[in-house]
């Protein structure tokens, strides 16, 4: 019976962590939509949503309610099973990313040592890549199953864009992994907490490439060609209504949060608060400060995403491909070689 001798505390602890992280991601995503509208408005000298609740803070709830109340429409010529699978897959893939992100160091609760990470997988970043590449299936399946030319077109664009930019993203990451020597996100963050500098100091070019490709992976402007309103009406979610549309929209925002979290963890020290000695306060308080620091870093990255979105226009499709294949991939390769040369010279 040794198989059943499970550590129930461990399972409960992880289940609670999963629940907190998933609901927190959904809540933050809800308010990111609000933040997006506010940021867009303020950058354009407008007040933005301000009617629902104080400062319009209840606006996302109203939006969510509206999405749920809308009629559920499945086009008669659509492939029903895949049509429903699409948004579910997009949402699942974007939520699965959060499993390996270290949200903080560790808490001591009721005599238990609780790591603030759902799973410290030793190939954490590879797992993220695998899940993110699955996310594009959500878009592709949804776009194809809609049986609409615009949706199909946009799904094709999304797929080719994701494939092109994942290459540069992976190459930029390899250079970072050569310096850290580990694929585990926890280890990468701990190295930055212990070390003097954050990884962005060692890998500025790598970070720039990663940031640009992350923006492309999230389908954010200037890389939002899959949902280019002026040429594809609404892109791959053209035929979707009600909460299925909501899932696609939320998945995009959760992707944004997750890529911000990953960028913060990989290049900006994760839950490391600079110029602050964690040993000077109680370990639990230090861990909570760490979580807060990571959240602030995520918010800053999200703001950067929005700021860029409301500043520059969309790329043309050939420009997008040209940038990906002819600029970012050679740059990433160069960065990789440079990092390798520096590591060799240091040996």
């Amino acid at each position: 019976m040794t198989i059943l001798a499970l550590d129930w505390g461990f399972i409960i602890e992880k289940l609670i962590m999963i629940a907190i992280v998933v609901f927190a991601s959904l809540g933050i995503a809800l308010y990111t939509t609000f933040g997006e509208r506010k940021v867009a408005a303020i950058l354009q000298d407008r007040p933005g949503p301000s009617r629902a609740g104080p400062f319009g803070l209840l606006q996302p709830l109203a939006d969510g309610l509206k999405l749920i109340m809308k009629e559920e429409i499945i086009p008669s010529q659509a492939n029903k099973w895949l049509f429903i699978l699409g948004p579910g897959l997009a949402m699942t893939a974007s939520l699965m990313t959060c499993a390996v992100i270290p949200w903080g160091s560790a808490l001591d609760v009721f005599g238990r040592h609780v790591e603030l990470q759902i799973a410290d997988v030793n190939i954490g970043i590879l797992y993220v890549f695998a899940v993110v590449s699955m996310g594009v299936y959500g878009i592709m399946i949804g776009g194809w199953a809609s049986n609409n030319k615009f949706s199909l077109m946009s799904a094709l664009r999304a797929a080719s864009q994701a494939i092109s930019y994942e290459l540069a993203m992976g190459l930029a990451l390899i250079a970072l992994l050569m310096t850290t020597g580990s694929l585990s996100l926890k280890t990468i963050v701990e190295q930055q907490v212990q070390g003097h500098w954050w990884n962005v100091v060692y890998q500025p070019l790598g970070f720039l490439i990663f940031f640009i490709t992350a923006m492309a992976e999230c389908n954010r402007t200037p890389f939002d060609l899959p949902e280019a309103e002026n040429e594809l009406n609404f892109g791959y979610h053209q035929e979707y209504s009600s909460m299925k549309l909501g899932f696609y929209l939320f998945a995009e925002y959760i992707n944004m949060i997750m890529s911000s979290a990953i960028m913060a963890s990989m290049y900006f020290g994760g839950y490391d608060l600079p110029f602050f000695n964690e040993a000077s306060v109680a370990p639990n308080i230090a861990a909570m400060i760490g979580v807060g620091t990571l959240l602030i870093k995520i918010v800053l990255f999200i703001f950067l995403f929005m700021w860029i979105r409301w500043t520059i226009p969309r790329f043309r499709y050939d420009q997008l491909m040209g940038l990906g294949w002819k600029t970012l991939i050679p740059l990433a390769l160069f960065n990789m070689l440079l990092t390798g040369a520096v590591i060799l010279a240091k040996l």
């Binding site: 303020i42 950058l43 354009q44 000298d45 407008r46 007040p47 301000s50 720039l208 700021w307 860029i308 409301w310 500043t311 520059i312």
Partner: protein
């Protein structure tokens, strides 16, 4: 070719320099511009709470005027209806009878006076045409309505409150009318 004006400018077709082709610097410049807009004053007027002030010469809803003693000034001469380019004004005249001297200023008055606010173009020519200072355009506009009939304003809708009997309402109407 001889240029007609000296306004034409040669298009700069120089190939972009490396810095320009890098694109990043220009993106950062653009982002600085948008960032500076965060601190600019918003021109928005939050409508139901705040209202934009109309200019003193704004031509809005019509008001049928009374004199200081509260008598209607309109004599139903029809000059406003004639002047109206949109043919929005209709009226029926009636003769004042004994005992109505406190209600109507002259011997003749408008028994019926209607303006179709859907036809009216708010040009103010009725105001110019009136020899008796009886019609004015105020600084309010016609509110929305559910039916077309609702836009035909009768005399009771147009007449300014009586300064004798409803002094406060008259003052209010006067304030808006300016």
């Amino acid at each position: 070719m001889q240029a007609l004006t000296n306004k034409a400018q040669a298009v700069n077709r120089k190939p972009m320099t490396l810095l320009e082709r890098l694109y990043l610097i220009n993106i950062i410049k653009g982002m600085m511009i948008t960032f500076s807009h965060m601190f600019k004053k918003q021109p928005t007027i939050r409508y139901p709470e705040e209202k934009r002030e109309f200019s003193p010469v704004f031509r809005g809803l019509h008001v049928l005027n009374r004199d200081e003693e509260g008598r209607e000034r309109c004599t139903a001469c029809g000059l406003c209806a004639v002047a109206c380019p949109a043919e929005a004004i209709t009226m029926e005249a009636a003769e004042r009878v004994e005992g109505e001297e406190t209600m109507y200023r002259e011997e003749k008055y408008a028994a019926k006076y209607e303006i179709n606010m859907l036809r009216c173009i708010f040009c103010g020519l009725c105001e110019d045409a009136c020899p008796k200072d009886a019609i004015y355009l105020s600084e309010t506009f016609a509110p929305a309505n559910f039916t077309r009939k609702g836009f035909i304003y009768a005399k009771s809708d147009l007449l300014i409150p009586n300064p004798k009997t409803e002094a406060s309402a008259f003052a209010e109407a006067k304030g808006v009318e300016a």
